[in-house]
Amino acid sequence: MNAGAGTEIRTGFYICHCGQNIAGVVDCPAVAEYVARLPSVVVSRDYKYMCSDPGQELIKQDIREHNLNRIVVASCSPLLHEHTFRHAVEAGGLNPFLFQMVNIREHDSWVHTDHAAATEKAKALAYAAVRRVRFHTALETKRVSVHPDVLVVGGGIAGIHASLTLANAGKKVFLVEREPSIGGHMAKFDKTFPTLDCAACILTPKMSAVGAHENITLWSYSEVVKVEGYVGNYQVTVKRKPRYVNEELCIGCQECIRACVYKEAKFPDEFNVGMGKRKPIYIPFPQAVPQVVVIDPARCLQVKSGKCKQTCVEACADRRAIDFTQREELVQIKVGNIIVTTGFKLFDAKRIPQYGYGVYPNVVTSIELERLVTSSGPTGGELLLRDGRTPQSVAFILCVGSRDYRTNRWCSRTCCMHSMKLAQLVREHTGADVTVFYLDIRAPGKGCEEFYDKSLKDGIQFVRGRVAEVTDWAVTPEEEGKLVIRAEDTLAGLVRRIPVDMIVLAVGMEPQSDAQDLRRLFNMSCGTEGWFLEKHPKLAPVSTFTDGVFIAGCCQGPKDIPDSIAQAGAAAAEAMALIDRGYIEQEPNTAYVVEEDCSGCKSCIPICPYTAITFDEAKAKACINPALCKGCGTCVAACPSGSIRQHLFEDEEIMSEIEGVLSHA
């Protein structure tokens, strides 16, 4: 099966047209002709789609018919199809690592316009691979078992759905949520577009299911602080912040809250985005899961000063759930896969001062309005201006912190529909005139265009134009005492001034402020905008560049609830695929010490970040533990006597590749 030493090297070369993707720029037949004349090349062909079944069949057939023992395929990125062709090589009866791939699509035809230069480049790269592959040897992949438990980070709707999907399939899940309750942004919504069904009605049962599920360990008020290991075998450290309430003992009766020394709720309440009040001891919201109170250490007298009558402890009586001795705790768990669903942050409307948020009290954000129209909100669902009047006219400004080069370039995707939903709720609650200032209405989701149509028919006015500013200075009598919007109605071609009572800013979505830390923690990538980067925008939308780490929901980019749930399900399925197979195959690209060459100089030992290299005192040689080696090759480059080598990236292989790329103009 393997070409042993001394065996004649017989190489097969295949160049893929990829339809016109490659052949449109690179002269594939010319490259094939050129390679055919290179030493050791027995077969050289060009073909329309190498990754297709007939393309792969070609390789298999040639291996048998021409007794090939090395294969080179020039096509797309190895990150995309290396596995495909390795399988084909293996199916043809050859060790899959006697294969080398040449990237002439992403690195050549797609990025160059000069056909002649691109063809020459393809020849050089092909030549390099043909030279390189001569040194390839047969290798075996390593199999590592996959730990069946899964960590889900973030308890918004995506995390909840992913956890339940996995748990219902019998997998054990750790769900870690930073806030005292799961639920995320969705828990704050009144109704959901385009169906106008009540957010709480569809979310609450799922939240309770998480709280009650025997396969889910819910750690709220906790954060992941360290991730070690690799796919199938992650060791994760979770920080559990003290909530000063024993979760096992608390039954959520809230007697303690009533008993708190603070008689009145006086601190801004996070759930109502600062518009409501709570006490130092509180439950985040009525449907919170876990149904357990939490003590705010920044507000509680006992925590802050140790001087409090502790009436809460008294009220809890013999349940003894309140525990001021609680300290931060680090817990270690082992999991095989991680699903990151850490969500988004809302754009801070103060960053666009022209809109007067924070200056004019009746300029509110969309999420504030959401709380103001909810019956569980601070006003009991009555939409009022700050002075208690009912608004007669309300304007929505869309794309606040979206599609703007100075803040966020992207479209936040949900604001159009979200605003239309709120506009309908405003009309329902107050009958006020509603004007929506928009740039483009984006309503591509299922049922969304119909919802737009309904909004138009309901008499909501849509003005196409980005609002330039919101002021409180009047030019005409009807503007007195109102907020005045100045904008060009671009469809009418007129600059307009429009006085209204209330303005709602449809703030966009942003990556979480600690997204960069999370990215490092889980070894993911972020796009330039800061959203977590999927492995492939189409083919691997919930995978990341780190195997066994998946993403779902808005941490990957703005999306609505149905899309978040769909991704969460997909991420759960990806994790399950790994768990149910039970093992993963690792690239055999580990480094190894050639013992008889090693002088025992120990130079390599401090180089390894994984402590995979140890010094064998008895033999006075370095020794690499292949199970710990991740294959970076840094020690190979560092070994001063050339005694460490690396499978798949041997010195001779790389050197011949360098020689190859340079030997052709």
Binding site: D597, S599, K602, I605, P606, A620, T634, A637, P640, S641
Partner: protein, 329 residues
Amino acid sequence: MPKPRIAIYWCASCGGCEEAFVDMAEGIVGVLEAVDIAFWPVALDFKKSDVRALPDKGLFAAFVNGAVRTSEQEEMARLLRRKSRHLIAYGACACSGGIPGLANLFTREQLLRFVYEDAPTVSNAAKTRPQTACMDDGRELELPELRNVVRTLDQVVEVDYYVPGCPPTPKMTQEAIGALLSGKLPARGAVLAPDMALCSECPRRSSKPTDLAFKAFRRPHEALIDPQKCLLAQGVVCMGPATRAGCDAACPAGNMPCTGCMGPTSRVRDQGAKMLSSLCASISARDDAAIGSVLDGIPDPVGTFYRYGLPKSLIRRKADLPAQEAAVP
């Protein structure tokens, strides 16, 4: 059966390698019993014509030391190549250029001007320079031409075996001759020294820590060197890890760092690059400025990493020097 004939010749070298033969002491007696010395200009009065007179391959072996930098040395290298069955590059200069190889950092003109004019100890008001030809008493006299580029022996003629070191130790020399005579030879082109780095035989080896991280580099004269402890662990650049064994770690044993005269192992193409790679990877500094100040401790990277091997390194010579320079008039 006549004894095999050998030749010993020097090119650009300090004479230390010739000394190494003598340093075999009584060992040389055994050698002389086994071979006839047919050519050894330093010690015995043979002429070039005597070598010419030999049939091709008439010499069993020729040991050539020194780098090749004059026309005469090239000529002699070719002659000895033709006349000998085994041509041995003997010593660091012949193997990899050695100290004379550092002349590849300068042009011939720069060298001549310094040596004959600018050096502080020179008094040469007439600015006389060596000439390749001149007339004296009506007779034309010739001097070999100094080349622009210093070369290793194998950059001029094919070499069969290498005996590295500055100079090779008597033990290595004896072993090499022994191997030649016994016919128990490795593949052609091999280095007749252990193919392992020097640390394997260094007396200080056990004192090297496994968590070395360089905070600063010191040159030997800048520090009081602990005679027991690994030199690298003391921040002194020791080329041992990137240098062949075989010298019994004479320098570290004598409280000086290895400077790399034995050249790299067979697996390394460029000794300096490898040492640089290993050394720099283990610097503890983490940002540009801090790394820079650690590196300042190695003020002459070329001289440090390529003390004996510049002509044999991947770049061979200072690349921006003019390729050709008019021959000395």
